[in-house]
Symmetry: C2
Amino acid sequence: MTPDSSALVIGFDADDTLWHNESIFEKTHERYRALLAQYHDAATVDRTLYATELRNLELYGYGVKGFTLSAIETAIQLTDGKIGAEEIQHLILLGRDMLAHPVELLEGVEETLAALASRHRLLLITKGDLRDQERKLAKSHLAAHFRHVEIVSEKNELSYAEILRRHGIAARRFLMVGNSLKSDILPVLALGGAGAHVPYHLTWAAERVEGVPQAAGRFFQLENLRGLPAVVAALANPNFS
Amino acid sequence: MTPDSSALVIGFDADDTLWHNESIFEKTHERYRALLAQYHDAATVDRTLYATELRNLELYGYGVKGFTLSAIETAIQLTDGKIGAEEIQHLILLGRDMLAHPVELLEGVEETLAALASRHRLLLITKGDLRDQERKLAKSHLAAHFRHVEIVSEKNELSYAEILRRHGIAARRFLMVGNSLKSDILPVLALGGAGAHVPYHLTWAAERVEGVPQAAGRFFQLENLRGLPAVVAALANPNFS
């Protein structure tokens, strides 16, 4: 281990990077479309729900509770108020199911974190509902690998800069790992850090961006977390600084 | 200023300590009772809503979004599903009004924080919805007074101990100020710190506790934040350690 390598701090996104999340939302969307199928086609339902979510994002923030409220609001709108209380109660239960859903780790997560934690300071940096994210971390049994856990309301240059400052981490010694180019990779590259993008097979529309980041030697594309130790080794090369 | 005094770190609760909060919930409760008045008396509405909130607390955590979901669920239950979609939309708007509500500071807050911040490290320690608490802090224009802002999902001995550890604060040099004996005062006294209780005229049932804390020289009762500098001066007395 070179000093360069040991000085590298690695941040991890949680949802869809360490464990499945968007797939749970997708299952809920399917049930939601079925509930409203007698009123509208699936595309209209999806489009209207997404518009409501975006409109409410500033006020509600990310997470299941805000999603559930947006789903109820959209259902009332799409049925011109004809939706029954029983169906709305069903939506509340769909939300509750999501919150109570088991945490299913993604491929290679457990062994990769265990291997890296012995040599590097690992941070968990996630956005969303405070209690929900804490609960998922507890259920994941991964908490012991992380030196710090940061649950933030938004992941952008400002929030990453604040986290790095607070923990005394130089951006050029920081690698962020996550499935979202927009939230996990681009802001960290902009600050001068490195990013390892591990795409999930589903991406929420609000997280989609066009193009591939241009940051030679600082941007890496991985299929799953098993490729991460090689990236860490590459960054330990003295050419990276 | 004695060294003892400058070494004192002061933590502040936010809702109902720095700004009005429970009064906003109380206004919403009034509108909620009116909405359901044709089905049930006010006491039944209050009791059932509170039971739903407590049942959902573990899953939803604190905050307006969880409250709104519990209010919808309770309304469906109390009307045997007869409540209309329009009334449910009204409940969603009530929740939104709470989130968008202006922040109104309590008496003496601004000048007391300004005076203390020049001599002491001030922390804001609050529980609830991440985005909502951040928004209220921004609206309050008080953020600059606080060295650290901690938004936690629960305020108990464990979470206070973790905050003190993270910031390298000895409990005996820590004073917590807040309106809730249960969340702000008792856990800090148990850790060996000091507590200044500043009651708000309304207390949510889930925050109520019986009796007065027994911790001579470490527990203080204030009418408003204007009394705080005197408490800080008393704690700076070398007898406190």
